[in-house]
Symmetry: C2
Subunit: 307 residues, 2 copies
Amino acid sequence: MINTLIKNIQEKNAPIVVGLDPMMNYIPEHIQKAAFEEYGETLKGAAEAIWVYNKGIIDATYDLIPAVKPQIAMYEQFGIEGLIAFHKTCAYAKEKGLVVIGDIKRGDIGSTSTAYAIGHLGKVKVGSKAYAGFDEDFVTVNPYLGTDGVKPFVDVCKEENKGIFVLVKTSNPSSGEFQDKLVDGRPLYELVAEKVVEWGNECMGDTYSNVGCVVGATYPEMGKVLRKLMPKTYILVPGYGAQGGKAADLVHYFNEDGLGAIVNSSRGIIAAYKQEKYASFGEANYADASRQAVVDMIADINGALGK
Amino acid sequence: MINTLIKNIQEKNAPIVVGLDPMMNYIPEHIQKAAFEEYGETLKGAAEAIWVYNKGIIDATYDLIPAVKPQIAMYEQFGIEGLIAFHKTCAYAKEKGLVVIGDIKRGDIGSTSTAYAIGHLGKVKVGSKAYAGFDEDFVTVNPYLGTDGVKPFVDVCKEENKGIFVLVKTSNPSSGEFQDKLVDGRPLYELVAEKVVEWGNECMGDTYSNVGCVVGATYPEMGKVLRKLMPKTYILVPGYGAQGGKAADLVHYFNEDGLGAIVNSSRGIIAAYKQEKYASFGEANYADASRQAVVDMIADINGALGK
């Protein structure tokens, strides 16, 4: 699956991913109103609004971008109905030729991680049949439980030609609380990075591994070190834009081949119409504002990379 | 919510929780057959089988136990239909007076953790209304992202009188890979434990905090140390029985008041009928076998505690 992601990135000359992390207050009034008129102010109404909003953004941007990254929490908060919207969003993005990175940050003991891996990347057996529950292309994985919590995901990736991104250094302010702690003089996230390489060696694509990692844009010095420590590991980079990460900081997340990193923006794209810069599009044309924000983000990052 | 859990434990004299982690191969033939006849060999058929199976176990054990702990991965692997069975199971267990611990091991950056916390412990706003998505009483939380990934759960616990159990030292074989790494001479899990105490101080019940932790039964020496480090923290203890933890090992997970720990068993209870010891019940009477396994587990643990 990493081969497909790289092919998409190269064809579109866009090392970016759009984070589909809908919040009710991002969704334009006319979409909310229509959904609530049809289903009432219910979980189903909220889910319908989210789905229509996402579809608008996908339709307006899919020709420019290689991938989307829906954050499942934003759907899960609306219970079953929200998860139906998540599932529809993933399926629709795939129909449009996009790689879908499910930002689920799961991770548990072995048999339980197997269930998550099957549910999101594989197929579950029911009697003589087998079904894909959610069917993303990649998912994010939390490594706190160690190898036997991550390996089941790697095994399913091998069987199904899928991929994962393992959390190494997250973008949030307190990520250092545990991740930066020194173990024999080296930060814990470097130990995790070494394991990512080990897990990834088992599951290589042509030039990069199907086991990628997450390193926040907000810690560029660490990103630089981690890039070198994991030369064949794709880095999913959250934290650009709204969280404070800048394109110039991200250059060292890439390898000399111009590959090796994919930068996420969520709010900055999907709620672009709320920014002063894109306000002229107006709320009704939120999707066009998102398209322009994608164009600008690609130019910003490719500019920093000298492409 | 910790007060309610403790009250349930005391009334039933049973410091245990039944892990509702259904696997298809645990579910008796007659239940699978009936579900598949009604819905076919589909995700809906599987979900129906899981729900009927769970209901049987709850009906046969609810008067003996204080709580259940459904592991959401086992449902999520069946996609939306599986999650509907999870939701029904949680709601039914609550109807029967049980405390529901959602074993979800979520954890993310601040705004995303807020969404998880709202979805599982709180209420989400939809226009002028508010709805509970899944509505467990407690959930398990992964601490790898640090304080700003955990605090949103604590905040929702305060508002809604709910609780969490934060992973400190998990029961799986490779849990030590990162959790045991020495930081200034002390294992990482102790640093996490100190944070658990800090987070918990903000959210106290009468005698224990609503912020509990997870420490596996498979590491009794560490459990002993952690018990003392976190005197007011309830410990959720997985790993008893099938994973190898023994009652005698668990004594030190409890405080001198006889409280402070709740021991989980999943397979050992819900698939008891498959063990030689309970085989005489027969597959048709799987729920009676589960009831006997609960009686035996309570006696085993109370025996070790000298109760």
